[in-house]
């Protein structure tokens, strides 16, 4: 009995791994092409049919580069934090259910996900701190600031969802959305959740950690090429995870007009990813003190109002 459960877990593990990697790869490619089209240029067209192999070429190019350790860098802390970040992100992706294909369906799965998700910025800060580069230091401080100012509204929205569905298991949340998506039930909650996740995934207008026009590459300034590739890949996987969570919690996961199957989940995830890229092509980076104001006052107030509305049986 234990063995077939184990097999089922491994089977799920492989399927989710492939979807995560495939999505991260295409997310990178689609972002270059979409933002390219938006900026009236072609995007990669040289390798592969529509530049599809461009990411692969970058992948190998970065792998072949030499890893240089800065003198003052704390090597052990850096290695530990890089692989922890990668491990946690992949672990998060594993917890996502797809239609009737999931590992755990306990009633507190959502809390587990977001507790881990709130642990990542601390790891990123450690990573930045360990490379002892001035820009990485500032980026580490900002990562903690981002964490503090966006966690509370995020969790308040989760409490609102949990209260509405009386359970935190994603499957039951999605089932509750069979007739009406949570997007329409709590639009304010959706806005707060989207903003908080944008900050979590380091997307403009909140990409303070990797603000390329100020801090060169933020916490990645001194990382060598292979680890930079790993960090970039993990970044794309986190974007996939963010898009998937948004489509699961607010856009009624696998419920669609005709039959409800996991294809609907992917369509919604891709649509949310396109929306994130669109914001990245338009918006300007907010200043750190404006983000604190936005996080602490605007989002916090909105999430409390949202919670209150849900409590009133809106």
């Amino acid at each position: 009995m234990l063995i077939n459960e184990l097999i089922e877990i491994i089977e799920y593990f492989i399927v989710m791994l492939i979807t995560a990697f495939a999505f991260a790869y295409f997310f990178g490619w689609l972002e270059r092409k979409f933002v390219g089209k938006f900026q009236r240029r072609h995007g990669p067209t040289y390798l592969g049919k529509f530049g599809l192999l461009q990411n692969l070429a970058d992948f190998f190019k970065l792998l072949t580069k030499e890893q240089v350790w800065p003198k003052k860098a704390d090597k052990l802390l850096f290695l530990v934090s890089v692989f922890l970040i990668a491990g946690f992100t992949l672990y998060l992706v594993m917890l996502l259910p797809i239609y009737n294909f999931y590992i755990i369906n306990s009633s507190i799965i959502l809390l587990l996900i977001f507790i881990i998700l709130s642990f990542l910025p601390i790891l990123i800060a450690l990573n930045g701190y360990s490379s002892s580069n001035k820009f990485a230091m500032i980026s580490a401080q900002r990562s903690i600031l981002l964490l503090i100012s966006f966690e509370i509204p995020l969790f308040l929205v989760l409490i609102a969802i949990g209260y509405y569905v009386h359970s935190y298991s994603i499957v039951s949340i999605v089932n509750a959305q069979s007739n009406l998506w949570f997007l329409f039930i709590m639009p304010i909650g959706f806005f707060v959740f989207l903003m908080a996740l944008l900050a979590e995934m380091e997307r403009t207008p909140f990409d303070l950690r990797e603000a390329d026009s100020e801090l060169i590459a933020g916490w990645l300034t001194d990382t060598g090429a292979p680890y930079y590739m790993l960090a970039l890949f993990v970044d794309y996987i986190r974007s996939f995870f963010g898009a998937a969570i948004i489509s699961l919690l607010f856009l009624g996961g696998w419920y669609g007009p005709f039959g409800n199957s996991f294809i609907w989940l992917f369509i919604k995830t891709i649509f949310v990813a396109l929306f994130i890229m669109f914001i990245r092509a338009i918006a300007i980076r907010m200043r750190i003190d404006r983000i604190l104001y936005f996080g602490w006052i605007v989002l916090l107030a909105l999430s409390i109002i949202n919670l209150y509305l849900v409590y009133l049986g809106y």
């Binding site: 089209k37 009236r40 338009i282």
Partner: protein, 123 residues
């Protein structure tokens, strides 16, 4: 917040513009006819007066002597590494035999000596 929505509206409209970049190796831009590109020397009409060598701001043209049937004559030799195609030599040349053509044949090579174009090569 209203202005941000208006901004997204404008952004969507901009999305419909056609691409402005050209895939260079396949199709190239069309150049105007008075484009100042590679130099071209018409050896026979050159009276080797050296005006181009003296006018060149970067002194990239040096007079090199070649033996022709009428004895040794000096001809201009251009060092394309230093030339920035300002066209002063073209204007000052009395018989108008040194001309800047429209072809910007990619002046690329792995060997710096190939940049120094002999008078015969300037065609």
């Amino acid at each position: 917040m209203i202005e941000n929505i208006k901004k997204i509206g404008v952004a969507l409209k901009i999305l419909t513009n056609k691409r402005a970049t050209v895939e260079y190796p396949e199709n190239k831009e069309i150049l105007p006819d008075n484009y100042r590109g590679m130099l071209r020397l018409d050896i026979d009409t050159c009276i080797s007066c050296g005006a181009c060598a003296r006018i060149c701001p970067n002194s990239t043209i040096t007079m090199v002597d070649r033996d022709t049937d009428r004895g040794i004559k000096k001809y201009p030799e251009v060092n394309l590494e230093r030339c920035f195609f300002c066209g002063l030599c073209e204007e000052v040349c009395p018989p108008k035999c040194l001309v800047l053509t429209k072809s910007y044949t990619e002046v690329v090579s792995f060997d710096r000596r190939e940049f120094i174009k002999e008078p015969e090569e300037l065609n």
